[in-house]
């Protein structure tokens, strides 16, 4: 690959004529490596995952979206370590949407569920190891020695005894005809040179220089910029509008009706927005009676339904009736917005021969399918480029804005970039579902839980997105973190009541665990007090059969100085939750201002066991970020719905956590499980209950609803 070659040319080279479907694919026997297509002249392309150029550059294809979670560093580290590459020569490019880059476990090219490392830990290492063995074989053939006498390290293959060596770049011209090994040998953890190290992120320099290209920054020659008027009421659509005034605005080119709105295409965004303001649209549809109060009532009514059994062990009802100490409580959590800092946007261009999309997307397979459908072009004529994502959190799994860009590209014949205003973004989200839960739990005289009956009323995300995964009518996401409760509870039942409302719902960082952890961990705290047992001790006494979880709980509590006295008005709260195969425990320290009702979280101590760590610095920053994300929701966030539409429209009426509200965060990594766990999401679920439990410790008031707004705190203080 010539150093001057553009990213696009590189992709075309790397993918030219690739007849072989997947480089590393999962078979019943585990992962197998296939060779890639013929290499471009001078390059060595041992699989679709990497290319080695004569100038020593190792380019790793990153088939996951970089939305801050560090995959553009951690995934190349997996390849480079096994390859024995010189890290300074390693670069990455984002893979185009292509069958070859489908996730080997999911069978789709998408990023979510904290799966990037979990699903690619072995495949990418195998891709690196296979390439290393091929380079060694090439050198051995050249020297006419057995491969066992050669060694790869730091971008060079050398003979173990003789003074002979070839750089990887030199070997690219000698590797022809070397077949990929059937079973490349992976390193033992002791042999890792990169994995486990705090390697600086590859994406940071361009994010600091300002050069990083997000979807918002895409520029295509001849491009129009579009703004879209979206319906004020959920589910409404445009009935009529008038183009005349908009077309008079300088720079406005075309007005186009879309299924869910009206778009103004212009030479600049301000012109397009000016056009949107004067369209005089008449809308029809929607339900003006929809608001928070009517939704609350619907959920409350649904709570009386018995729902579908998601889990049943033993007989919790009998245990409850027989128990001396018992507690029944109802918990309610609101709809939440994603509020990625980069508002939704997408750029598309459709000609008779070709369709190209530039999208900050978490869902390449979905975008490509949409592009094929709307352009009417076959897969090989559709190119989907993934840019950097200015936040994702699940929102960018959806393809609604992509559809708008494609429809406008088709209608205008020009490249079109659709940019949503912040108000569009807030009001046309796929929200974290509102939910209502009721738990009835019982204790024996030893302070052990004897029974736990749990009911979750929650709209279904999976019914829309992955209907095949609905088991017996149960949305697994809605009950995650409860149906697989980590505590020893002999009698457990979990029922799911699906409620369908017009409010669209979608994946929001940590999905069902974002609400269920709050319910379970608040309940655990309340039960501990009921039993007269310290909340940490209470949890430990129900984690006897789970040494990894036990260790995480212990670590967080010790590091936080659990039990040490605090001044009055301050409190410490604890929570533990396992999600996405990772155990996380947190201790939050809060101060409650009795006058203003403000909760200030000063310190959060986290213990995390995500198994083998690829890059500890990235793991720590993900947990720091997740704490802020979860805390923002715990203290401030709630989507306001009135008169059929979403009122929350900008940071003026849906504010996020700001620096003056952010706590000091300590992250302690615990070595426990031997399989990698996820890291993007598991830090979110425990923070809200840890804070609510800390507020209880500080002021003696329980909160079974979020957010812990000053208003809610003041109301509770009045009662105590």
């Amino acid at each position: 690959m010539s150093p001057k070659m553009s990213r696009r040319e590189f992709l075309q080279h790397a993918l030219a004529g690739t007849g072989i479907a997947v480089a590393v694919t999962m078979t019943p026997l585990g992962y197998r490596v296939f060779s890639a297509a013929d290499a471009a002249a001078g390059e060595f392309v041992p699989s679709v995952w990497l290319t080695i150029a004569p100038n020593e550059t190792v380019t790793v294809m990153v088939a996951k979206s970089e939305m801050g979670q560090g995959v553009s560093t951690s995934l190349p580290m997996l390849v480079a370590d096994e390859l024995e590459a010189n890290w300074g020569s390693v670069r990455f490019v984002f893979a185009p949407a292509d069958d070859k880059f489908r996730d080997p476990v999911w069978g789709t090219q998408a990023t979510g569920g904290s799966t990037s490392i979990r699903h690619l830990y072995e495949p990418l290492r195998l891709a690196g190891a296979a390439a290393r063995e091929m380079l060694i074989a090439a050198a051995a053939r050249e020297w006419k020695v057995p491969a066992e006498e050669c060694l790869a390290a730091n971008g060079v293959v050398r003979h173990k005894r003789k003074l002979k060596s070839f750089s990887f770049g030199q070997l690219t011209s000698m590797v022809a005809g070397i077949a990929p090994p059937a079973k490349p040998k992976l390193k033992t953890p002791q042999e890792f040179r990169l994995i486990g190290k705090e390697i600086p992120r590859l994406d940071v320099p361009e994010k600091v220089s300002g050069a990083a290209i997000f979807g918002m920054d895409v520029k295509v020659p001849g491009m129009l910029v579009a703004a879209v008027a979206h319906p004020p009421l959920i589910g409404a659509h445009p009935a009529s509008y008038s183009s005349a005034a908009a077309l008079k605005i300088k720079g406005v080119r075309q007005i186009i009706k879309l299924p869910k709105g009206v778009a103004v295409c212009a030479d600049s965004l301000p012109a397009a927005r000016g056009g949107v303001d004067v369209l005089k649209i008449k809308w029809e549809g929607g339900d003006p009676k929809l608001d928070n109060a009517s939704l609350d009532a619907r959920f409350a009514k649904a709570l009386n339904e018995s729902g579908i059994k998601a889990k049943e062990t033993g007989d919790p009802a009998t245990a409850f009736n027989a128990a001396a100490k018992k507690l029944e409580a109802t918990f309610s959590l609101p709809y939440l917005a994603h509020a990625t800092m980069e508002p939704m946007n997408c750029t598309a261009h459709i000609t008779a021969e070709r369709c190209e999309v530039w999208a900050p997307t978490q869902n390449q397979t979905g975008v490509k399918a949409m592009a094929e459908k709307i352009s009417g072009l076959p897969a090989d004529k559709v190119l989907v480029n993934t840019t950097y994502l200015g936040g994702g959190f699940g929102r960018r799994f959806e393809t609604d804005v992509v559809e708008e860009a494609l429809l406008l590209a088709k209608a205008t014949g020009k490249p079109v970039k659709v940019i949503w205003a912040r108000e569009d973004d807030f009001r046309n989200d796929f929200y974290r579902p509102m939910n209502l839960s009721r738990v009835a739990a019982s204790l024996d005289s030893q302070g052990k839980i004897t029974g736990w009956q749990h009911k979750v009323v929650c709209p279904s995300i999976f019914a829309r997105v992955f209907p095949d995964t609905m088991k017996n009518g149960v949305d697994q996401a809605a009950v995650e973190g409860v149906a697989n409760l980590d505590y020893d509870v002999p009698n457990l039942s979990v029922n799911y009541v699906r409620i369908d409302t017009p409010v669209p719902v979608g994946f929001w960082r940590s999905v069902g665990s974002s609400h269920n952890a709050f319910v379970v961990e608040t309940m655990m705290d309340e039960l501990a007090y009921l039993a007269g047992v310290d909340p940490v001790e209470f949890r430990l006494s129900h984690l006897g059969g789970n040494p990894n979880a036990y260790a995480v709980v212990k670590t967080a509590s010790m590091r936080a100085g659990w039990g040490k006295p605090l001044p009055s008005g301050k409190g410490r709260g604890f929570a533990f939750h396992r999600s996405f195969d990772t155990n996380v425990a947190m201790v939050a320290e809060v101060a409650v201002d009795r006058k203003s009702g403000r909760v200030k979280v000063s310190r959060v101590v986290c213990a995390v066991d995500c198994g083998p760590v690829v890059n500890p610095e990235i793991v720590r920053s993900q947990i720091e970020g997740a704490v802020c994300f979860g805390l923002s929701a715990a203290l401030k966030e709630r989507v306001e719905i009135a008169a059929g539409g979403v009122v929350s429209g900008n940071f003026s009426n849906y504010d996020l956590l700001r620096m003056n509200e952010a706590p000091r965060i300590e992250v302690h990594l615990v070595k426990g499980q031997d399989k990698p766990g996820g890291i993007g999401e598991p830090g979110v679920p425990p923070i809200a209950p840890a804070v609510a439990n800390a507020v209880f410790a500080a002021i003696g008031a329980r909160f079974r609803e979020l957010p812990l707004s000053p208003k809610a705190i003041l109301k509770a203080l009045k009662k105590t």
Binding site: E66, M67, G68, Q69, G70, R201, D203, V204, P205, K207, V208, S209, G210, A211, A212, I213, F214, M216, D217, K219, V225, S268, L269, P270, A339, T340, M341, E342, P343, Y388, L389, G390, G391, G392, F393, I419, A421, R422, E617, S621, Q622, E624, G625, A626, V627, C628, F629, S632, N650, F651, S652, L656, L657, R658, M659, N660, E661, A662, R664, I665
Partner: protein
């Protein structure tokens, strides 16, 4: 035509006087470092320096910067203590808010070369970061100000 000085270069742009500086920078000058986040001055993603002071370019009419010096993230030198500190502390996650954070921090350091914790909080709390990099932003500012590694 309005004349502007951005990152030390003089430009003539064809824009209405009330056009917002952010879109002139992004669409007409091709400087996409300053980001659009809210358009109402509440997130800080669009922050640039105007005569050394941090300003929200999404609500600043281009006419207001006539004859003034505008600096965007692209104009902050690579070896600027803030850029060096941002890399050392590995601040960015998604990175979208970071140009705004850095320009706000640059304005802060112009005013307070050794800011206190509360000066940092009050200057920086207008810059939202959905990824939650606040702790690292703080460390990086302290590092750039020569105030030791961690707060």
């Amino acid at each position: 035509m309005i004349s502007l000085t951005v990152n030390g270069k003089k430009y003539q742009v064809d824009a209405a006087p009330d056009s917002k500086l952010l879109w002139v920078l992004r669409e007409q000058l091709g400087l996409t470092g300053a980001k659009f986040g809210c358009g109402i001055g509440m997130c800080g993603a669009c922050t640039v320096l105007v005569d050394g002071k941090a300003r929200r370019s999404c609500i600043t009419p281009v006419s207001a910067v006539k004859g003034k010096k505008v600096v965007t993230i692209e104009g902050l030198p690579e070896n600027h203590p803030l850029k060096v500190a941002w890399i050392a502390e590995q601040v960015p996650q998604c990175g979208y808010c970071q140009p705004g954070q850095m320009m706000q921090a640059a304005g802060l350091l112009n005013e307070h070369p050794k800011p206190t914790e509360s000066e940092i909080d009050s200057a920086m709390s207008g810059c939202l970061c959905r990824c939650g990099t606040y702790q690292r932003v703080k460390s990086a500012i302290n590092r750039a100000a020569g105030k030791g590694k961690k707060p």
